[in-house]
């Protein structure tokens, strides 16, 4: 008892005997913690090499390709689900009527062939014979018409799928194997609009479309059958042995929802997933890691995505109505330096909105040209004050705010680079960080001076219509409020022109005008780097990843000689 009132650190002997009861409690506590820590240790002995988790534990189990998804799909309804995760599941469980290959050319899928009438207004699809949904019911033209009708029903909220169908006059099914689509006028991007998965009409007809049970457990005609959706965790698909294109060579796909990209990369290292994206520095760090290179192969592709800055040019600010000022801005930005330093060179400068969509788009200038930028600004009347170096015209300083998306590292970093670039020219640019929805709402409302954003065009140059046509200023994507009657006419003409050469010529003219007037500064496109487990082989990288095309997942196969494939029943 002596120790209690004594100063600390004394009475060691007394302490030992007196507290006999309490150390026991502590010991128990510690033992419990140890047990907690040790228990998993023994249960997971094969984990260090990390080869067990991905294959689904049991050695005789199916070899599923485990793919991380950052966002859980909202719904697996083929029509209502338009986010990237939903679209991925759709193309695995369902069949698109037509699809694109890794080079983004349109290829047949559920439609074995098609023909276009002489006047270019009627598109006729011939469906593949003998295709059945996973429940055994044949897939016919009725299903295609039903899917079209659901897309056009606003209650389906088929966001982003409606546009290519607006010029359609009617869709008919003259016989079970034929779909005839009549357009009001020739429509060049028509085919790409039909890259849609086909719904099973017999399951949805008469059901509540928004709440049907198939929205959580889809039935399609695709190469993979739906197995399970564990909310917040994963979606499991198994190979469809009766697929018309032959059973996929992998036994299934396991889509894991892993919101953090850091965690996804760690999961690749533990073998829990078979694929993960890497940031350029992470890739650099592992370039010389022999063990890493032995376990993973590099997958690299350039998505169609690029960053751009919209300069609001509708006169709501005194700066960006003048094309000289906009051109000066583009010349001042050090895009090349950013790609070199932040991306470690793993990015591409975007010299034109049609980058990747039109062969032979002009290359962007190699570096910034502040001297020319300064000259243009002087011409436009924005002269630098000899003392402060700050530019102004008639007492109005050249000072504006750039909106950026706060959640994107690239967005924020580049805006800071731009701020420095412009400061050197005597321009004061403030940065306002916003969340995605707020940024979007501001862009739509037009209440901004300049905004940095990203754009993912489709495979057809017509996807620039929204950004460049003056009809899309109100409610559309023409955030710069750019109005050029010539470009409007050319964009409309290109839509109606079926001849590829003439059509390309029109887009070339549009491109030249855009580059001359610079309503937007086109910045750069990051190259996507990913690592894929060597347990699998055959991946075909394309601008839309390794799964977002035809054949996509059908091209994958378990690598021979790897532990995973030796235990698997090899697919046909």
């Amino acid at each position: 008892m002596t120790a209690r009132g004594e100063p600390a650190g004394r009475g060691r002997a007394g302490r030992r005997e007196r507290t006999s009861a309490r150390p026991a409690a502590i010991l128990k506590c510690a033992a419990l913690l140890l047990l907690l820590a040790a228990l998993p240790g023994c249960g997971r002995s094969p984990a260090p090499s990390g080869s067990s988790g991905a294959a689904g534990a049991a050695p005789t189990g199916p070899v599923r390709f485990v793919f991380p998804l950052p966002i859980e799909p909202a719904t697996l309804n083929f029509v209502s689900g338009t986010d990237q995760s939903s679209v991925l599941v759709q193309r695995l469980v369902g069949d698109l009527l037509v699809d694109h290959d890794p080079d983004l050319h349109v290829v047949p899928r559920l439609a074995a062939s098609w023909d276009v009438s002489a006047d270019g207004k009627v598109l006729t699809f011939h469906l593949r014979p003998g295709v059945r949904f996973h429940d055994g019911v044949p897939c016919t033209s009725d299903d295609v018409v039903f899917t079209y009708e659901r897309i056009m029903d606003p209650a389906s909220k088929a966001v982003g799928r409606v546009d290519p169908f607006l010029p359609i006059e009617k869709v008919e099914a003259p016989d079970p194997a034929t779909v005839r689509v009549t357009y009001r006028e020739p429509y060049a991007p028509a085919l790409r609009g039909w890259e849609i998965p086909i719904l099973p009409a017999h399951l949805y007809r008469g059901a509540d479309f928004a709440a049907a049970k198939e929205n959580r457990a889809p039935v399609g005609t695709g190469p993979f059958r739906f197995v399970s959706w564990e909310a917040g965790q994963r979606i499991v698909l198994d190979a469809n042995p009766d697929y018309w294109g032959g059973r996929p060579r992998i036994d299934g796909i396991d889509l894991r929802f892993i919101p953090s990209s850091d965690t996804a990369l760690q999961a690749l290292l533990t073998g829990e997933v078979d694929y993960a994206r890497l940031q350029p520095p992470e890739w650099e760090a592992r370039r010389t890691d022999a063990d890493f290179q032995k376990r993973y192969r590099e997958v690299r592709f350039v998505p169609l995505f690029y960053y751009y800055i919209a300069w609001r040019g509708d006169g709501s600010n005194p700066f960006f109505g003048d094309p000289r000022v906009r051109r000066a801005m583009t010349l001042a930005l050090d895009r090349e330096g950013y790609v070199r330093s932040v991306y470690h060179g793993l990015g591409r400068l975007a010299g034109s909105p049609f980058q990747g969509l039109l062969a032979g788009s002009p290359e962007p200038p190699a570096g910034p040209d502040p001297a020319s930028a300064a000259r243009l600004l002087d011409e436009a009347g924005w002269r630098a004050d000899p003392k402060t170096g700050k530019r102004a015209r008639g007492g109005v300083p050249l000072r504006f705010t750039l909106l950026v998306y706060s959640g994107g590292e690239d967005h924020v970093q580049f805006s800071q680079v731009a701020q420095q670039n412009l400061k050197a020219l005597g321009i004061e640019m403030r940065i306002e960080r916003l969340d995605w929805q707020t940024l979007w709402a501001r862009l739509k409302s037009g209440r901004f001076e300049a905004a940095l954003s990203g754009f993912m065009p489709g495979a057809d140059p017509d996807s620039l219509y929204g950004m460049l046509h003056s009809s899309q200023i109100e409610g559309g994507q023409n955030y710069a409020a750019w109005k050029d009657p010539d470009v409007d006419a050319w964009l409309d003409a290109a839509r109606r022109t079926l001849d590829e050469t003439q059509r390309t010529a029109l887009y070339r003219r549009i491109e030249a005008r855009v580059l001359e007037r610079q309503p937007y500064s086109y910045l750069f496109a990051p190259v996507v780097l990913a690592a894929m487990s060597r347990k699998f082989d055959g991946a075909l990288p394309s601008p839309q990843g390794i799964l977002g095309h035809n054949p996509g997942a059908l091209a994958l196969f378990p690598a021979t000689g790897s532990p995973a494939s030796s235990t698997s029943p090899q697919g046909r």
Partner: protein
Amino acid sequence: MSGFLLRRLLACLPTLLGITLVAFVILNLLPSDPVLTWSEAGVPMSAESQARLRAALGAGRGPAERYSDWLLSVVRLDLGRSLRDARPVQEVIGEALPWTALLNLCAMAAIYGVGLPLGFLGARRPGSQGDRWSRRILLILFVVPPFAAALLMQRLFAVRLGLLPLQGTGLGEATGAARLGSLAEHLVLPVLCLALAAWAYTTRYARALFRTLFPAGSVAAARARGLSGLRLARHFAPMAALPFVSILGAVVPALVAGSVVIEEAFSWPGLGRLLVHAVEGRDYPVVLALVLLSACAVLAGQLLVDLAYPALDPRLREQVAPDGSHGG
């Protein structure tokens, strides 16, 4: 006592109403667009198809009308449907709630299981080697931000050592009884991450409380009066329970904040992730329901504390009883 309870429950109602009203106003002040909530990935859409969608939605009702509608349906125990996937909000939240509850209960157990004994030891021998070192270590743990702690522990325990699973719940991979073991393994790292920061202040708080509760010699005095073993424990346990109850006030908000980060890092399918997605996607029915739920949880926690105090401390019982009989 029942009168006291009733009065307290009734007093919660205006608070709840106020919280939902504030949440509703804030949500409505955020710039957004109902059409955009359905295209979270930023799917390009032409002006024409947006106009079409808007026309189908109708002119749109005013905020006051929407709030009163929402309130009426909540009274009927209907929280509406998620804008994202059209499922009932109850179902969406019901899927995530057990995961968050499990994670946080385990975290709570870990926090108290370590914090209280350490605090007790520190109070017994303030300034001792153990006391000083535990303070230092806990301070370091306290300043590590949760996301960094998560990343470091994932790299060390899951990737490098391969001792513990990295992420997920582990239920999908296992079958039968192994599911429970798998779940326990998968809980360890996220629970530790949640507990790390809380250990520092629970220990400090418990230490201070124990020092005032058990002034030097009080246990010895009790022993001297012949109390021993179980009876000694029964004498002191209620007093020891007090810090347990008081610290709840600090632990619960920290857990709520921490689990948003931790659930993201460990791909845990709980409410934190749901809330982030719902706010980003402006999924109003889900956000409002989550606000309502957490408000209820906090108020219920306070109520519990209020009820527990008199039960544990007879002095407070005296103050409540006449008041309660008066109210009843």
